[in-house]
């Protein structure tokens, strides 16, 4: 614009040929110098005004914007401080395209280091025997899975085959042996190792050391092996150092359609391994289930708290079954993770659920107990209008009609003060002792394993006196104590709506699981209509029990109750047996009976005023403790109650009676 300021000072124009009307006009004007000058000055002034208005507008806008920012400035500091806490994503320099990997295998120690960072180190005695497997993301070098398979013991090689088959092609696999890894390494596993390109793996011998790095379905990147010289000694320690070239991010990912669900899936699959077909490129298993909605769902707005630890594979299985149950509302689910574990959080995010982490407090049972307390408090805080909460654990399968079962029964908890909880689990509901999915019981014991808690019970009674961290109590044992339960009962189904599949856990091991949980009956029928739910109320239930006892056929008490022939080979009958029970807490005969019936015998479960109800050979089987039970009046005078002698004292089994 400055150029144009100079223009009015230019010399007056000379006359020109009249070529057009415009020029004629122009010519006329040029003849009137004064007028021309005036016009030119006017134009320049006008332009100047334009410039000024422009500048003012710019200034004004600026000021308004800076005003808008001013009062937001102070808050900024706080957040920036927070931002700084985040670790730098990448150490100085550009992205590295090669990882250097060190793998060590020996009798007493294994370790794996990636780019100088130790990702596995195990030198504990008497632990971690077998083949350690680590999976790295081929694009980022992140550890995606870490497993150890004790292939010295039987069947562990099968688990290893299963796991290795699930790993996506292209991932970096690292294997190293600690102590002994060949004794039960069978041909299938060896064949798999061969297919990975390993030379030494398939030929792995007794007490050999072995370190292996390779790409799944691709080249071997390094392998070292040392044979054991004699039966009584181990191979020399081996240290394998190798470079692993990283591939591009696109190569490492599948090409799923760009949807919200697949974004979650992609995030999950780039971080962890070992979840099977959920990360399959071609045909991934769905992560959204949309089960049928439940008509007239009374538990749609009941929050669901899933109590979890660091067993992400369990959590994955559990959430799949939970989200497939009819009538589930995912936004009501909160997963509480005890500890800052990443992988369970990844599983939660995969399903688009809410996850909350809990800094562990105290140890062992008390830690679980504190985690329960925090989780329950948080659940009722997050859903301040909820009158109930469903409490689940990460090692449960949830029946397809779990919510239907609760929807049909939850009004009992509202209407009957003598109830403590509704539970989906029948302690005595084994394959051979449970039959009728439409049948409910009242029991004096609190089974847990998928149950409904009333807000008022928690807030007014349990929360204020919950065991403090220094008390190493089991929360469930504490809840079963008479001071807490105060004579109230729980509603349970005959056929459980949850299934306890956890084998590893605080109070759990393979043997215990096999003996007490594996054969539990689990309902798989959708939409079961519960029968006569209102007869479960306090007084109505007594009427119902009396009716049952009146029509029950009394069994032949001269026979051995442990024999199969104790019950006739009929179907659909109701039978009753009377056992000796001197006082309310005399369970001598019951425990023996439970033992020979192969049901829960570690403590007393499932009783209601000295009455147990179960099924035998498709007949309803009632057991009444005489004379402690008020139902003893139904005993014909001629019958002598059965008495079973406890075996001579030799063990202290009840110590293991916990179930978590």
């Amino acid at each position: 614009m400055d150029d144009w300021k100079a223009s009015p000072l230019a010399k007056p124009f000379g006359a020109r040929k009249k070529r057009s009307w415009y020029l004629t006009w122009k010519y006329k004007l040029t003849n009137q110098r004064a007028l021309r000058r005036f016009c030119q000055t006017g134009a320049v002034l006008f332009l100047l005004v334009t410039v000024i208005v422009n500048i003012k507008l710019i200034l004004d806008t600026r000021r308004a914007i800076s005003e808008a920012n001013e009062d937001l400035e102070p808050e900024q500091d706080y957040d920036e401080a927070l931002g700084r806490l985040e670790p730098p994503r990448r150490r100085g320099g550009g992205p590295r395209r090669v990882l250097d990997v060190e793998v060590y295998s020996s009798r007493s120690k294994v370790y794996v280091a990636v780019d100088g960072t130790t990702v596995l180190e195990d030198e504990a005695r008497e632990q971690g025997r077998g083949i350690h497997v680590i999976v790295l993301n081929q694009a980022t070098g992140h550890v995606m899975a870490k497993r150890v398979f004790d292939t010295y013991s039987p069947h562990e090689d099968e688990a290893m085959v299963l796991f290795l088959n699930m790993v996506a092609p292209g991932r970096v696999l690292i294997c190293t042996v600690k102590d002994e890894g060949s004794f039960h390494l069978k041909d299938t596993a060896k064949a798999l190792l061969r297919s990975l390109g390993s030379q030494a793996g398939p030929a792995l011998g007794w007490r050999d050391t072995w370190a292996f790095v390779g790409r799944k379905g691709g080249p071997v990147l390094g392998e070292k092996h040392s044979k054991s010289p004699a039966l009584s000694s181990w191979g020399d320690p081996v240290l394998l150092k190798t470079d692993v070239p990283l591939s591009s991010a696109e190569e490492a990912e599948c090409h799923w359609a760009d949807t919200e669900l697949n974004r979650r899936r992609r995030r999950f699959c780039s971080k962890v391994e070992g979840y099977g077909s959920v990360c399959s490129c071609k045909d991934p298993t769905p992560i959204e289930f949309s089960p049928d909605p439940l008509p007239d769902n009374k538990v749609l707005n009941v929050p669901v708290a899933v109590i979890a630890g660091n067993r992400p594979n369990y959590l994955y299985r559990m959430l799949r079954s939970l989200l497939s149950a009819q009538g589930v509302s995912p936004q009501m689910i909160t997963v509480f993770i005890d500890g800052y574990y990443e992988e369970p959080m990844d599983v939660v995010a995969l399903f688009g659920l809410r996850g909350i982490q809990h800094t562990p407090i105290s140890i062992k049972n008390a830690r679980v107990s504190q985690h329960y307390k925090a989780s329950l408090t948080a659940t009722f805080n997050l859903f301040p209008e909820a009158k109930f909460a469903v409490v689940l654990e990460e090692d449960l399968d949830i029946a397809v009609d779990f919510f239907s079962f609760l929807s049909q029964s939850i009004h009992l908890l509202e209407e009957d003060d003598s109830l403590y909880c509704i539970s989906a689990w029948n302690d005595q509901g084994y394959e051979h002792t449970a039959e009728d999915p439409a049948l409910l019981y009242r029991v004096e014991t609190m089974p847990g394993l998928g149950w409904v808690l009333r807000r008022s019970l928690y807030k007014e009674e349990l929360e204020p006196k919950w065991p403090t961290p220094e008390k190493l109590w089991d929360w469930d044992m504490w809840m079963r104590m008479p001071e807490q339960r105060r004579g109230r009962e729980c509603i349970i189904p005959d056929v459980s709506r949850s299934y306890h599949f956890g084998i590893v856990g605080l109070n759990m091991n393979g043997y215990f699981h096999e003996a007490y949980f594996k054969k539990h009956k689990f309902n798989t029928v959708p939409g079961v209509q519960l029968r006569n739910v209102d007869s479960l109320k306090k007084d109505a239930y007594e009427v119902e029990v009396h009716r049952l006892l009146s029509e029950a056929e009394v069994l032949d008490h001269s026979k051995n109750p442990c024999e199969d022939s104790f019950l006739p080979d009929t179907e659909g009958h109701t039978y009753v047996a009377f056992i000796r029970m001197e006082k309310d807490d005399d369970f001598t005969t019951w425990t023996q009976l439970a033992k020979c019936l192969r049901i829960w015998d570690l403590d007393v479960r499932g009783n209601h005023r000295g009455l147990w109800r179960l099924f035998r050979k498709k007949n309803h089987f009632l057991v009444v403790g005489v004379p402690a039970s008020p139902y003893s009046v139904k005993k014909p005078p001629s019958i002598t109650p059965i008495f079973l002698e406890p075996p001579p004292k030799e063990e202290g089994a009840p110590g293991a009676a916990e179930q978590t």
């Binding site: 134009a43 422009n54 914007i65 808008a68 688009g352 909350i356 982490q357 809990h358 925090a374 805080n381």
Partner: protein, 461 residues
């Protein structure tokens, strides 16, 4: 040749620049009016037609929320006020018959909606659809205050605010979260480092300067300017709540530190006292709410909230404050009807009024009435034996909401000044023996009641 060209170009430029100037003048005028908000031109609204950017933005937003089942209701103070004035008329006009745009076309920068988070079923994907519709959206998240009170829980963040901009108009979605105590809470709008500070003129937002608490409103559907929106059933009540909605969170972190130092009392007596005190407080709150009387936590109860986020187990009573201008003559009878008999009454409405009611399990409810002076506030005390009067001085304060034992209650916003006036700088140290006549640093002797008045001003039951 050159000269002619110069001239022609000069003329051409003059023409374009005048056109340009005209455009700028128009824009500038528009900008000014938008900046000053609707306050300038309420009547102007009717003249601007349905093509205004405000109306279009709101329409698009409502289309979005109804198709995605986003549970929102209108809380914009400006528009609610207009609606409130014309509520009858709005209800009478049939759908679609509106010829003029009277509400949503009012010039302004923002339209505020509340989102009821607990009713929101599919949060995912909403954002993307909004962006596909032409909105530019900003999401402000933070940690969940409902987990703060619990030891060591860390959850995923919850959304607090969404700001969705369509051209020059922005929709401010304030996320309302349910809290224990049957109220709705919204968070503080705090920009994080990476956010665009110029995204919208943030300082003009009506919500988010502080966290806020609101009674859970009942909603009604109305058709405003041809758009179906939900608004609070009682817009007036909601509008009255806005200026006093500021919420302060209990200092959970400090409370935890306190309990680490002094250990919580979890004896049976402490548990029982806390339970009775909580019930008494709930009963008192309910009774006063029915009367429409504002109250706040005072003295020991306020200290318990501020210092340890719970009731001090050895305090033996519940203390409330009420402004004397909120005094109703039926307070005593209302408490008596609620099962709380009057224990004593000191002073009179004009001077040093104090009421004390007997709750269950020997827990007492003390109500102190506060008198306002130009530079301070005070409440009175009376010694029953001697008729001596005392005065407790406090710096002036305003009231804020907070959550205490699962209730939404008032506390002085300037809590620390209030507590230090009452308990001194050493309020952090628990003191079990407290003499209300001598211990407080803010107590002043205030003469003696004339004996002739004793019957009125010292009533013991």
């Amino acid at each position: 040749m050159n000269r002619i060209n110069k001239n022609v170009i000069l003329a051409l430029l003059t023409l374009t620049s005048s056109a340009f100037l005209l455009f700028q003048l128009y824009y500038y005028k528009h900008y000014l009016s938008a900046k000053n908000g609707a306050g300038l031109s309420k009547s102007k609204g009717s003249r601007i037609g349905f093509d205004s950017i405000q109306w279009r933005a709101v329409k698009k937003f409502i289309m979005l929320t109804s198709s995605q089942n986003v549970p929102v209701f209108l809380i914009d103070p400006l528009i609610l006020e207009l609606i409130n004035k014309n509520l009858e008329q709005l209800k009478n006009t049939s759908h679609g018959s509106t010829s003029e745009c009277n509400f949503f076309c009012v010039p302004r920068d923002f339209t505020a909606f509340a989102l009821q988070y607990h009713l929101w079923k599919n949060e995912e994907g909403w954002f993307r659809i909004a962006e596909n519709m032409g909105f530019q959206c900003l999401k402000i998240e933070s940690k969940d205050p409902r987990l703060d009170g619990i030891d060591s829980l860390s959850g995923t963040e919850i959304p607090l605010h969404y700001i969705c901009k369509l051209a020059t108009h922005a929709i401010h979605v304030v996320v309302f979260h349910e809290r224990s105590g049957n109220y709705l809470w919204h968070g503080h709008l705090r920009l994080k480092g990476h956010m665009d500070r110029k995204f919208v003129p943030f300082r003009k937002l009506q919500f988010g300067r502080y966290p806020g608490a609101f009674d859970r409103p009942e909603l009604q559907q109305v058709t405003v300017d041809g758009l179906e929106v939900l608004i609070p059933k009682d817009p007036m009540h909601f509008l009255e709540e806005i200026p006093h909605s500021r919420f302060i969170e209990c200092r959970y972190k400090e409370a935890r530190a306190f309990f680490q130092q002094y250990l919580d009392d979890s004896t049976v007596e402490a548990v029982t006292f806390r339970k009775s005190a909580k019930e008494l407080l709930q009963l008192a709150a309910k009774t006063l709410k029915q009367l429409g009387v504002r109250f706040w936590l005072s003295s020991g109860t306020c200290l318990g909230w501020y210092r340890q986020c719970s009731i001090i187990p050895y305090s033996k009573d519940v203390d409330l404050g009420i402004f004397i201008q909120d005094y109703r003559s039926n307070i005593i009878s209302a408490f008596q009807d609620a099962g709380l008999p009057l224990k004593h009454k000191f002073g009179k409405v004009e001077d040093s009024l104090e009421l004390s009611f007997q709750g269950k399990d020997d827990v007492k409810l003390d109500i102190f009435f506060f008198y306002e002076e130009t530079d301070h506030m005070w409440n009175g005390g009376t010694q029953a034996k001697t008729g001596k009067k005392f005065k407790y001085l406090f710096p002036r304060f305003t009231l804020c909401w907070t959550e205490f034992v699962d209730m939404k209650v008032h506390v002085p916003c300037e809590t620390i000044e209030y507590i230090e006036a009452n308990y001194g700088k050493t309020w952090q140290i628990p003191v079990k023996t407290w003499d209300w006549k001598r211990s407080p640093p803010n107590v002043q002797p205030n003469g003696v009641w004339p004996v002739s008045e004793w019957d009125e001003v010292i009533q013991l039951y």
